[in-house]
Symmetry: C2
Subunit: 200 residues, 2 copies
Amino acid sequence: MPAKKYHHGDLKNALIKAGVGILSKDGVGGLSLRKVAKKAGVSHSAPYAHFADKQALIAAISTEGFKHLYTELDAAVSPYSSDPRQQLIEGAWAYAQFATNNTDTFNIMFSGVLEKEKDYPAFVEISRKTFERVVEIIKACQDAGVLRPSPPELMAVSVWGQVHGIISLALEGQISHTVLDRFTLRDILLFALDSNVGRD
Amino acid sequence: MPAKKYHHGDLKNALIKAGVGILSKDGVGGLSLRKVAKKAGVSHSAPYAHFADKQALIAAISTEGFKHLYTELDAAVSPYSSDPRQQLIEGAWAYAQFATNNTDTFNIMFSGVLEKEKDYPAFVEISRKTFERVVEIIKACQDAGVLRPSPPELMAVSVWGQVHGIISLALEGQISHTVLDRFTLRDILLFALDSNVGRD
DNA sequence: ACCTGAACACCGTTCAAGT
DNA sequence: ACCTGAACACCGTTCAAGT
């Protein structure tokens, strides 16, 4: 059998994992390639054998984050295949949970830290796939009369944008205490979704 | 008359201005205290006479950004004192314009770069004031029957969140080409606002 | 193919010192 | 009060060299 490779054989994934760890411990500002290398037990220049530069590692971490988000979203929505309105609510809530439980990963995914996202095909692909999952939910809602007829992709951007924006403001501490004292984040999301879902 | 002070007498503001310049040229990742000092024509340690650390300079830049945003928002909305619906539309559009014309300032204001925003009273004050301006617009809309009755602050978070989220996703390159090929950012915002404004 | 160690040009921050 | 210059502990990135 092959003696275990130079190090543990899968440094690339070990670096991504170490990166996620550093990120959640020290935040976006505390994420450095040298710390990641140290945590993975290799020299500070070893990462360059697997990532072109720091941006490439960030892209890999963001891609993992998106995969995680997709999984959580899908798991939250799937049980309600016969109740589109509930899909919307639970999907939004799963998104909120992901953001609050993985704040720094969420920030790295959506806050301009990754500068040329189009250069990373895996990242583009999983974010496209996630958007398509949202579109599916929107279509189900429209078919059930829960959302008004309209181009589903347009409605998807509108609803996703709203959920995304409310959560972003919440993470940023930008939601006024006059609101937070009276409503939970879930209340706010439900209220916001109701605007789209229709009222009568 | 007093000989011009040690340098030009108002290094603090010169540093903020230099910071905004670096930011729009090199992005959030390219903003360093040493560059800012150099651009202002002082030694790399001079900024510490005016700012406790890099975060404090970032707070000052963010605060200036918020003041700018407030001014643009107010200017866009004020002409329509008799047309609340138009206030909503033009307010959202002013927000979008600010974000696209000052992407990096916008990112620094809303993307977790400023880590302890509560520690900077001027920042807290102007962001509070901006939110209150949004609430005013929302109230005018509710009084005119353009928005459904509800706690105005809650509606303000919902609508602001939506506008903020759509713009954030747009800046991040996260809006699908299947949408962007057919709709402008303004179209998307109008569609989104319509969800709240009511339909019949 | 995968990793190391020295090297370079940058950082943020501190501190003694100068006016 | 306001600023400088040396110093320290960090960065990202490159490159010759080792297995």
